[in-house]
C-alpha cells in the first residue's frame, strides 16, 4: 500500500499550481462578478491551447481502432492507469476554480462516449480535431431535459429515421458549452415505450438546421462555464452521426454506453468537490488565524473535522480511481466517493462562512463564492440520491422500478 502522491504526479500538480493563483482563480472570480461565462475568445483559453491543453483523451489511432473493430470485441480498450493522475489534476484545478476547470476547452463530457462508443470514422471526424487543436474548441453532452434529469430513461427527445438521416425533435437542458460547441452528443429515443433500449446517441454538429434556441442559464455559482438549454426542431442529422452505428444498438449497449462513461467520471467529479472543499478550508484557516479564532476549541474542532472528512473523501476518490486503473469493478466505490465528497465539501464551505460571520454576508469573499459553487457537486452527474440508489443496487440489489 502506498498513500503518497508520486513525483511525476506532483509535477503535474505543480504545473496546475503555477497558473492556479495567477490565472485560474482570477478568471473564475471575474466570471462570477460579471455574471457571465468566460467568453470563447478569452485570452486565457488561447493560452491553455498553446500549452497543449484542450485535447481529447483518445489516442488518435483510428487504424488500430479499425483493426479492433473488425476483430472480435469491437471496443478499443481504454487507457489503463490514467485515472489516478487525472483525478489529482481535476482536484487541483478545481481547488483554484471549479467553474474554470469545466470551462477549459476540449471535448468535455462528449469525449468518453465518442471514444468508447464511436466508430473509428466518428472518432476521427469528431475527436480528430481535438488531437492537436490550433484554437480553443469545445464539445458538449446533452442528456438532461426539462422533464427528465435523474430519470434518464424518461427522456422525451425523439429520433426518427428518414432515408439516410435521422430527425431529432425535443429540448435539452443545462448542457455545458452547448452554444459554443463544435458538436453536441445528444441522447434521444426512437421509441419512448422501450425505455433505455430505445435510446440513441447522436453527434449534432454546430450549425445544423433545427438546432437552436440556445439559452445560457443564469446560475447560483460556477458561472465561468455556460450551462445551456436548447431545442432540436426537426433537426436532420446524417446517419453517419449515429454514435456507434446501428449495430451498436442492436447489441443493446446504448444506455450502458452512457452510464459507463459516468462510472469513470464520478470519482473525478467527487475529486473536484474535494478541491472546492479544500479551497474553502484553506481560506477558512487563514481567516481564523488572522482573526485569532484558532484558540477556540469549538473552531478547531470543526476545522479538524472538515479536514478529516475531506481527507477521507479524497482517499475514497483515489480508491475508486485505483480500481479503475487496474480495470477492476468500481461501481460501488465510484458512487460512494460521489455520494460522500460533495456534502463534505459543502460542509467545508458552510463552516468557512460561519467563521467569516458577517464578513461572509458581504458577498465579496472567496468562501462565499465557493459556498455557491459547491452545491452543484451534489447535483451534477448523478445526484447524491442517485449515487445511493446505485450503491443500494450493489449492496442490497435494490430493484430498478
Amino acid at each position: 500500500m502506498n498513500l503518497v502522491i508520486d513525483g511525476p504526479t506532483r509535477e503535474r500538480l505543480d504545473s496546475v499550481r503555477a497558473i492556479g493563483e495567477s490565472q485560474i482563480r482570477p478568471v473564475g472570480i471575474e466570471a462570477d462578478r460579471l455574471g457571465r461565462p468566460v467568453p470563447p475568445d478569452h485570452p486565457f483559453f488561447e493560452m491553455l491551447v498553446k500549452v497543449g491543453l484542450g485535447r481529447t483523451r483518445w489516442d488518435g489511432k483510428a487504424e488500430a481502432d479499425r483493426a479492433a473493430a473488425s476483430s472480435s470485441s469491437g471496443a478499443s480498450t481504454p487507457k489503463l492507469g490514467a485515472s489516478r493522475g487525472q483525478l489529482a489534476v481535476a482536484e487541483e484545478t478545481s481547488y483554484w476554480d471549479r467553474g474554470v476547470a469545466v470551462a477549459f476547452p476540449g471535448p468535455g463530457l462528449g469525449d468518453p462516449p465518442i471514444s468508447s462508443m464511436g466508430t473509428p470514422d466518428q472518432k476521427e471526424r469528431f475527436l480528430g480535431r481535438f488531437l492537436n487543436p490550433d484554437r480553443p474548441m469545445w464539445g458538449s453532452f446533452a442528456m438532461t431535459e426539462p422533464g427528465a434529469g435523474s430519470d434518464v430513461a424518461g427522456i422525451q427527445t425523439t429520433a426518427h429515421k428518414d432515408g439516410d438521416s435521422w430527425i431529432l425533435h425535443g429540448a435539452k437542458s443545462f448542457a455545458a458549452h452547448a452554444s459554443r460547441a463544435e458538436w453536441i452528443v445528444v441522447w434521444a429515443t426512437v421509441d419512448r415505450s422501450l425505455g433505455r433500449d430505445g435510446h440513441r446517441a447522436f453527434v449534432v454538429e454546430r450549425g445544423t438546421p433545427g438546432l437552436g434556441d440556445f439559452v445560457v442559464e443564469r446560475k447560483m455559482g460556477l458561472k465561468a462555464y455556460e450551462s445551456t438549454s436548447f431545442t432540436l426542431s426537426d433537426c436532420r442529422v446524417p446517419s453517419a452521426n449515429l454514435l456507434g452505428g446501428e449495430d451498436y444498438y442492436a447489441r443493446k449497449a446504448g444506455f450502458k454506453g452512457a452510464m459507463k462513461s459516468f462510472n469513470a467520471t464520478r470519482p473525478l467529479v467527487a475529486a473536484m468537490a474535494v478541491g472546492i472543499g479544500r479551497a474553502a478550508l484553506d481560506s477558512a484557516v487563514v481567516f481564523a488565524r488572522e482573526n485569532d479564532l484558532l484558540g477556540q476549541v469549538r473552531v478547531r474542532d470543526r476545522l479538524e473535522r472538515t479536514r478529516r472528512r475531506l481527507r477521507a473523501a479524497r482517499l475514497l476518490c483515489w480508491r475508486a480511481a485505483w480500481l479503475a486503473d487496474y480495470g477492476r469493478p468500481n461501481i460501488l466505490e465510484a458512487s460512494m466517493s460521489k455520494a460522500f465528497a460533495p456534502s463534505v465539501a459543502f460542509e467545508a464551505a458552510s463552516l468557512g462562512m460561519e467563521l467569516l460571520g458577517e464578513v461572509g454576508g458581504r458577498g465579496d469573499h472567496l468562501i462565499e463564492k465557493l459556498f455557491r459553487d459547491v452545491k452543484a457537486m451534489d447535483i451534477v452527474e448523478g445526484t447524491g440520491q442517485i449515487q445511493r440508489v446505485v450503491m443500494a443496487r450493489q449492496l442490497v440489489r435494490l430493484p430498478r422500478d
Binding site: 502506498n2 508520486d6 504526479t9 484553506d282 476545522l303 477521507a312 480508491r319 455520494a339 443500494a392 449492496l395
Partner: protein, 372 residues
C-alpha cells in the same frame, strides 16, 4: 503512486485472522461475553498463530511487522468480537510505551513475562490531559484510581501521559465491574495504594508515538465492530420483509445502508493512511512521526464518530429485534461506544488531530506528496 493493494503477505495475514475469528470467536460470542473470558482452545490457537507478538522484535519471538499489519488483524478480530480481541491479545497496546520509550531491555523485562505467562494481562491507561484516571506519583511510588479498564486482572500497568510513562506490576488492586461493553475482556476498576513504580520512562516524542500506535490499535477495533454492524444489518434487511418487500428495498433503509457502508470505508481509509504513515515514518522517512501521530488521532476521531453513526443504526435496522440480545447488533453498539472512551477519548483525539492546523501556516495538506 497511490495504491491500495495490500500485497500477498498482508492478504494472507488478513485471511488468517478472518479464519481464526470465524473458528473461535464468532460462534462463542455470547459465551465469551457472559463468561468474561475466552476459551482455552482460542487462547492456544491465538498463541500458535503468533498473533500476540506480531509487532514485537524477533528477539522477543515476534514477527516485527508494522502498524498496517496490526490494524488489518485487529479489524478482523473485532469484526467478530472486540472484547475477545482485547482478551486474547494479553499484552495489547501496552507494548507501545515499552517499545517506544524503553527499548529492547524494557521489552525483555516487562513485555516478555506477559507474553510468556498464560492468563496474565497488561493494561495501558491514559493519564494525561482529559483523563478520568487519577494518579499521583512521588518518586518511585504511585497512588491513584482508574475508573475502568477492560480487563478483570492487570499484571502489568502502563500509565501514559504526554511526558512519559510509569510502569507498575505490583500492588495493583482490581475490583471487578459489570462493564458496559467489551465484557469478554472483563472489566475492573483499579486502585493503586502507594504501589512501587517499576520504571518511569520519560520522553515527550516517544510518548506521542506510543499514544499514536495505541490509537491505531483501538481505531482498528472500532472499524471492525462498525463493519460487522453494517454487514449484519445489511443481511438482515434483505431477509426481513415489511409492506410486501425486503425492508432493504424501502428507500429510507436502502440509503441508510449505503451511507453506513460509506461511513465504514471512510473510517477505514483514514485508518490505513495513518497506519501507512506510521510505518513510513518508522521505515523510510516518507512521513514524519508528527504526521503519523496527527493521522492516528484523525483516524481515531473519524472511527469514533462514524461508529456512533453506524452501530446505533445497525440496531435500528433490526427494529425491536435489534434491542434484544438474541442478535449481536446491540453488543456492537455498546462496544463501539466503550472503545471510543479509551486513550483520552474522542475529544482529545480531535485536539491532537487539530494541532498542526494551528501550528502550520500555508495550505492544509490532505495527502503526503513525494518531495521534488
Amino acid at each position: 503512486m497511490i495504491d491500495f493493494d495490500l500485497g500477498d503477505e498482508l492478504e494472507l495475514l488478513r485471511s488468517t485472522a478472518q479464519q481464526f475469528a470465524a473458528d473461535h470467536l464468532r460462534p462463542a460470542l455470547r459465551d465469551h461475553e457472559s463468561a468474561r473470558q475466552i476459551s482455552q482452545p482460542a487462547h492456544a490457537a491465538f498463541a500458535e498463530i503468533g498473533f500476540a507478538a506480531l509487532e514485537c522484535p524477533e528477539s522477543l519471538g515476534g514477527s516485527a511487522l508494522g502498524s498496517l499489519a496490526r490494524c488489518l488483524m485487529m479489524e478482523e478480530l473485532a469484526a467478530a468480537d472486540p472484547g475477545a480481541a482485547l482478551a486474547l491479545d494479553r499484552l495489547g497496546a501496552a507494548l507501545y510505551p515499552i517499545a517506544e520509550m524503553g527499548g529492547d531491555e524494557a521489552l525483555e523485562r516487562f513485555a516478555r513475562p506477559v507474553l510468556d505467562t498464560p492468563d496474565t494481562r497488561a493494561a495501558l491507561v491514559w493519564c494525561g490531559e482529559g483523563a478520568r484516571a487519577q494518579t499521583l506519583r512521588s518518586g518511585d511510588r504511585i497512588s491513584g484510581f482508574v475508573p475502568w479498564v477492560p480487563s478483570d486482572r492487570v499484571d502489568l500497568l502502563l500509565l501514559l501521559d504526554e511526558r512519559g510513562c510509569s510502569i507498575v506490576h505490583e500492588n495493583i488492586r482490581c475490583e471487578s465491574l459489570r462493564g458496559g461493553g467489551l465484557r469478554a475482556a472483563g472489566a475492573a476498576e483499579l486502585h493503586l495504594d502507594d504501589a512501587p513504580v517499576a520504571a518511569h520512562l520519560e520522553g515527550e516524542a516517544a510518548a506521542g508515538r506510543a499514544l499514536a500506535r495505541a490509537r491505531l490499535y483501538v481505531t482498528a477495533l472500532l472499524v471492525g465492530v462498525m463493519r460487522e454492524s453494517a454487514e449484519f444489518s445489511r443481511q438482515y434487511a434483505l431477509d426481513r420483509v415489511a409492506f410486501g418487500r425486503p425492508i432493504a428495498h424501502h428507500q429510507g433503509l436502502a440509503f441508510l445502508i449505503a451511507d453506513m457502508a460509506t461511513a465504514v470505508d471512510a473510517a477505514r481509509v483514514l485508518l490505513w493512511e495513518a497506519a501507512v504513515r506510521r510505518d513510513d515514518a518508522q521505515a523510510n522517512g516518507l512521513a514524519t512521526h508528527e504526521q503519523a501521530a496527527e493521522a492516528a488521532a484523525t483516524a481515531f476521531a473519524e472511527a469514533a464518530e462514524q461508529s456512533l453513526f453506524v452501530t446505533p443504526n445497525g440496531v435500528q435496522i433490526l427494529g425491536g429485534h435489534g434491542f434484544m440480545q438474541d442478535y449481536p447488533v446491540e453488543k456492537m453498539m455498546r462496544e463501539a461506544r466503550s472503545l471510543s472512551l479509551l486513550l483520552g477519548g474522542v475529544d482529545l483525539a480531535r485536539e491532537h488531530a487539530a494541532r498542526d492546523l494551528v501550528v502550520h501556516e500555508g495550505p492544509v495538506a490532505l495527502t503526503l506528496e513525494a518531495p521534488p
